[in-house]
Structures are given as structure tokens and as C-alpha cells.
């Protein structure tokens, strides 16, 4: 029986590099199964589950999207996003925006505090000056 060399690659590292019988992956139009001697193909994968028929047993992998490239002997799958990436992103972005506004607020607070401190210092000096003037006035 012919076999395929499958490589699954994520942006972080190569997570799967093995010889397999076949593979089923979710694409935009439905599912495709890649068998040995498949026509050369580049396609886009969507969120779903990849089914891998290994030499011993089966394996499943949830992905959030990516690309598949094959020439009939080798299959390369690039996983560009993890399962449920969009909702994860949504949360992260919201958090980041909140964080940003907090930083700005904090710095505003800091600035106000600095301004207040400066004002206090100035008035203290003024008071000292006034006291001195008074003393002079009394002496005269």
C-alpha cells in the first residue's frame, strides 16, 4: 500500500512528521481526503477537525484554519490559527484596549499628582516669603 509523508507545521514548531495512509481535512467547500497520488493541490483549510489515518490507528487534530499543500507523495499542512482563535483574539484585544486606557489614566493621575505637588511646593515657598516679609515689616 502506498503511503504519504505528512508534515503538520504551526508557527511555533513542527508538531507532526510521519508516514500515513490518508488524511481528511475541512476546506471551504466541504471536506477533502488526500490519498497517495493525489493531484498537486494547494488549498485553504477552515476551522474543523483533521482526521489522520496513521500506519497504526487514527488520530484527530482540531485546527482553526490554515493551508494544505500536496504533490501526491508529501502533504504539508500549515496551521495558521488554533481552534477557536477568533474568540480568543477578541478577548485578548478587549483586554489590551482596556490595559491601554488604564495606562493612560494612570499617567494622567500621575501628571495631576505631579502638578499638585508642584503647586504645593510653590505655595510653601510663597508662604515662607510672606512670613519673612512680615518679620521685616514688624522689625521696621
Amino acid at each position: 500500500m502506498d503511503i504519504l509523508q505528512l508534515k503538520i507545521i504551526t508557527p511555533k514548531k513542527v508538531i507532526f512528521d510521519e508516514k500515513i495512509y490518508s488524511l481528511t481535512a475541512p476546506t471551504l467547500d466541504g471536506e477533502i481526503t488526500i490519498l497517495p497520488h493525489h493531484i498537486t493541490l494547494i488549498t485553504m483549510l477552515v476551522e474543523g477537525i483533521i482526521k489522520i489515518k496513521r500506519l497504526t490507528g487514527e488520530d484527530y487534530l482540531a485546527i482553526g484554519g490554515g493551508y494544505l499543500e500536496t504533490d501526491g507523495f508529501n502533504v504539508n499542512i500549515l496551521v495558521s490559527s488554533a481552534y477557536g482563535q477568533e474568540s480568543i483574539n477578541q478577548k485578548l484585544i478587549e483586554k489590551a484596549i482596556e490595559e491601554a486606557s488604564m495606562i493612560l489614566r494612570k499617567s494622567e493621575d500621575k501628571q495631576q499628582r505631579l502638578e499638585a505637588a508642584a503647586l504645593l511646593r510653590r505655595s510653601l515657598i510663597d508662604m515662607k516669603l510672606l512670613r519673612k516679609k512680615k518679620r521685616i515689616a514688624v522689625n521696621i
Partner: protein, 286 residues
């Protein structure tokens, strides 16, 4: 100086030395880790590039919004600034800030910050931060990209830039500016040349246009990831060197202090001897 003070100082300096030495070792391990991370991501980038090369020859790249903004409403720039969360890393942050103030008009730009030091710096200068990804940055690459892309596609900025310290070697890093949106033309030129040597026709599903758009987006996302790892490695190497210098300085300080301690001790002994001798002479005279 009192001998007791010198002794105390020696003790505290050697404690500092121990700490900086430990930090140096930790930074070295972390640097290796982030370099390894960058290396492990290499196959993905390589394959991505290969696929883009294979299909870019088939279509007109001009149609993609990634190369040219369509409905610009603002003339501002979006800057993605990479810095560190923690200090004690030499001139790492300072270098990037100097670079930033030199090349970027802060009042005309919006910022996405990665790294607390950068966020503090920008807010101190009164810059506008739209999002801050300092926490858990290595998992937010996709989210960072999404934020920048939305900003760009809505026409709220004319370009998106990355500013980060590029890791060159353990002893060397360089502040770098890289425009990621609109995509520079240069990449498709060298893509086309290579694509000519391509053998065999590919079936492309669903269509080359849609696929390429997605691929280019992934490509940009990888650029951001690359910058993040590079900046990370540079930070750790910078910290390692800073801590090594601190350890060396502490060693030198300890050496001088020990010298001083011995001198003081000797002085004390000499005085005591002198005292004893004069006392003895006095007693013998009488």
C-alpha cells in the same frame, strides 16, 4: 574609613555580586530559549513563503487591499512598539526609545505597545496608545495582527510599522523599523522571479485571489511574530551582558575593598605594636 564599615561593605557587595551572577545565568538560559523558539518557527515561515511564491505568479497583486489603502480617513501612522516588561537590561529600552523619538512623530501616531516600559514611555510623552499587549505577549501575536489589520482596513492609519530591537548576535542588537502595511512592493518582485522556475501546475482551491489574500495575512502575522522573538532574544542577551558587567564590577570592587581592609588591619596592628613598645620602654626606663 572604619574597618568594620569596610567589612560590612564587602559583605553587601558580594551579596550583590551573587544576585547579578544568578540573573546573568537566568538571562542566558532565557536567551537560548527564545533563540530556539525563533528557530523552531522557521519551517512554517519557509513553507508559507514557498506557497506564496507558487501562486503569486498567477494573479495580479494590485487588487489586494494589503498593498494599497482604499478609503483613508486619517493621516496618522500606527506604530507597534516592542520593548521589555522589566528593567535591568542595559541600554535595551533606552536605545529603542532614542530610535523612536528620532524617526517617529509621536503626536502624529497611534501606538500598540508590547512591553510595559514602552507603554510607560509613550504615555509619559503624551502619545496615544490604542492597545497594550504587555501581558502574555507570546500568545497574542494573532490578536496584535488582528488589531493592526482592522485599524488599517478601516482607513484609520496610512501605514503600520514595527519598531523593535533586532537580535543580531549575543553581543549585538539593532533598533529596526519595518513597514508591514501596506505591504512593500519589494517582496512580490523577488517572489515573481523565483516563481518562474516553478515546475508543475497546481490546482488551487478555492481561488488564487482568496488564497493569496489569506496567505499574505499569515505572512504579515509571521513578521510580527518574528519581531517579537527577535526583540525577546535581544532583551535577554542585553540583560545577560549588563549583568555580566555588573558582576565583573562587583568583583573589582570587592578586590579593592579587601585590599583596603587588609591595609586598615595592618595599620591597627602596627599602632598596637607601637603602643606596646613605647609602654615597655617607659616601664624599663623607670
Amino acid at each position: 574609613m572604619n574597618i568594620r564599615i569596610v567589612r560590612k561593605k564587602i559583605k553587601s557587595v558580594s551579596n550583590v555580586k551573587k544576585i547579578t551572577n544568578a540573573m546573568q545565568l537566568v538571562a542566558a538560559v532565557k536567551m537560548k530559549k527564545s533563540q530556539q523558539k525563533a528557530r523552531e518557527g522557521e519551517p512554517y515561515r519557509l513553507h508559507l513563503k514557498k506557497i506564496i511564491q507558487k501562486i503569486s505568479s498567477k494573479i495580479d497583486l494590485n487588487i489586494s487591499a494589503l498593498f494599497k489603502v482604499k478609503n483613508l480617513v486619517s493621516n496618522r501612522e500606527l506604530v507597534i512598539l516592542f520593548s521589555s516588561n522589566k528593567g535591568l537590561c542595559g541600554a535595551f529600552n533606552f536605545n529603542i526609545f532614542r530610535f523612536l523619538t528620532k524617526y517617529v512623530n509621536i503626536s502624529e501616531s497611534d501606538f500598540i505597545t508590547i512591553g510595559r516600559k514602552g507603554a510607560e514611555f509613550i504615555s509619559k510623552l503624551g502619545g496615544k496608545i490604542v492597545a497594550d499587549f504587555s501581558k502574555n505577549s507570546s500568545n497574542s501575536v494573532s490578536a496584535i495582527f488582528q488589531t493592526a489589520l482592522n485599524f488599517y482596513l478601516e482607513g484609520r492609519c496610512k501605514s503600520v510599522k514595527l519598531i523593535y530591537n533586532k537580535f543580531i548576535s549575543t553581543f549585538h542588537y539593532e533598533p529596526t523599523e519595518e513597514v508591514i502595511l501596506p505591504l512593500p512592493r519589494k517582496i512580490d518582485i523577488d517572489l515573481d522571479i523565483k516563481a518562474l522556475s516553478l515546475k508543475g501546475e497546481y490546482v488551487i482551491e478555492p481561488s488564487a485571489n482568496i488564497l493569496l489574500e489569506r496567505l499574505l495575512k499569515s505572512f504579515i502575522e509571521e513578521k510580527i511574530r518574528g519581531a517579537l522573538y527577535s526583540s525577546d532574544a535581544a532583551e535577554h542577551s542585553s540583560r545577560m551582558i549588563a549583568m555580566k558587567n555588573a558582576t565583573d564590577n562587583a568583583q573589582e570592587l570587592i578586590y579593592n575593598l579587601i585590599l583596603q581592609r587588609n591595609k586598615l588591619r595592618q595599620e591597627k596592628i602596627t599602632y598596637e605594636l607601637l603602643d606596646m613598645i613605647t609602654a615597655k620602654e617607659l616601664v624599663e626606663k623607670n
